[in-house]
């Protein structure tokens, strides 16, 4: 995986999940995050799932906001 890709926040592989909703961002734009720190909570099929930061850095940009739907491969945020 290239450096650019690893700085993108996406849904981890959860199996056959097609679409989901962003329930809550646990960090605000501009915040410093550490790799493995809890970053956001998503919901699909009556299940909430907490996604961790893939890398350390600054949460540069949130792309999918709270309450919005996303598809499995969508970019959710960027960490710079």
């Amino acid at each position: 995986m290239g450096e650019k890709e690893s700085r993108e926040v996406r849904l981890p592989d959860l199996g056959a999940v097609e679409a989901f909703t962003v329930v809550q961002w646990l960090k605000v734009e501009g915040a410093e995050v550490a790799a493995g720190e809890e970053l956001l909570e998503v919901e699909t099929e009556k299940t909430t799932f907490v996604i961790e930061a893939p890398v350390s850095g600054r949460l540069e940009r949130i792309v999918v906001h709270e309450g919005e739907r996303a598809l499995r491969d969508d970019l959710l945020a960027e960490i710079a």
Partner: protein, 235 residues
């Protein structure tokens, strides 16, 4: 310490913690406690079985708008409302409902969220089939259904790949209480097992058969354990 958990000749180990009748809030704390232990690999997968006093719980995509009665009625009936971190909207728990909370490390179940939900549903579908009740899934509406009526509700939370919350099977629930909400925010009808069978089942009749279905689907060898030490640890 945990090599026995994955020993191929023994399969996956799981522990059944029968809580009997237990308070919702205390059970929620117990789940969080066990979730922490399971996340650190300090315990095996654990299955809590419980019957609650009447409560309404609202999941992350729900709101109090799905409560159809004023607060005075809830107070009079002794029904508390909890906002919890599972998926889904509002649901009711109360006497006559078998609630099962599996604390499971999904990394040992193929890291497949959807399969986990399907297996939970299937455990109830197969349990009911053995009682000659024909229950099904409805695409897009998680849970277990008998025709257009809902017999089991599902709601799960996953962090660190470890689950909490689970599935609730209506065995003989109070229809008046369930009528206080729009379950899952939908106009749906609820049904209890005892409305569908000539025999009247108690919760205790169904725990072992349901565990047998879970064991088969998740590949567990289940042993029962007294939950006391966990209760004491999270007081």
């Amino acid at each position: 310490m945990t090599s026995w958990l994955k020993s191929p000749e023994r399969g996956l180990q799981a522990v059944h913690l029968p809580l009997g009748h237990a308070d919702y809030a205390a059970t929620y704390r117990l789940q969080q406690h066990l979730h922490g232990l399971r996340s650190r690999d300090d315990i095996a997968d654990s299955i809590l079985t419980v019957e609650h006093d009447p409560v309404l719980t609202i999941g992350r995509s729900g709101s109090r708008e799905s409560i159809l009665v004023p607060q005075e009625v809830l107070t009079r009936e002794g029904i508390s409302v909890f906002e919890v971190d599972r998926g889904g909207d509002i649901t009711y728990h109360g006497p006559g409902q078998l609630v099962v909370y599996p604390i499971v490390d999904l990394r040992e179940q193929g890291r497949d969220l959807r399969r986990y939900i399907r297996n939970l549903e299937q455990s109830v579908i197969d349990l009911l089939a053995d009682l000659e009740v024909d229950a099904v899934r409805r695409p897009g509406f998680p849970g277990v259904w008998v025709g257009s009526r809902k017999i089991a509700s599902i709601g799960v939370h996953v962090r660190n790949w470890v689950t909490r919350h689970g599935i609730a099977l209506n065995v003989d629930v109070d229809r008046f209480h369930f009528g206080m909400i729009r379950p899952c925010g939908l106009e749906i009808e609820i049904v209890s097992l005892n409305e569908l069978t000539p025999k009247s089942f108690a919760i205790s009749d169904l725990i072992e058969p349901h565990l047998a279905q879970l064991s088969r689907l998740f590949g567990w060898e289940v042993r029962v354990e007294d939950p006391r030490r966990h209760w004491e640890a999270c007081r």
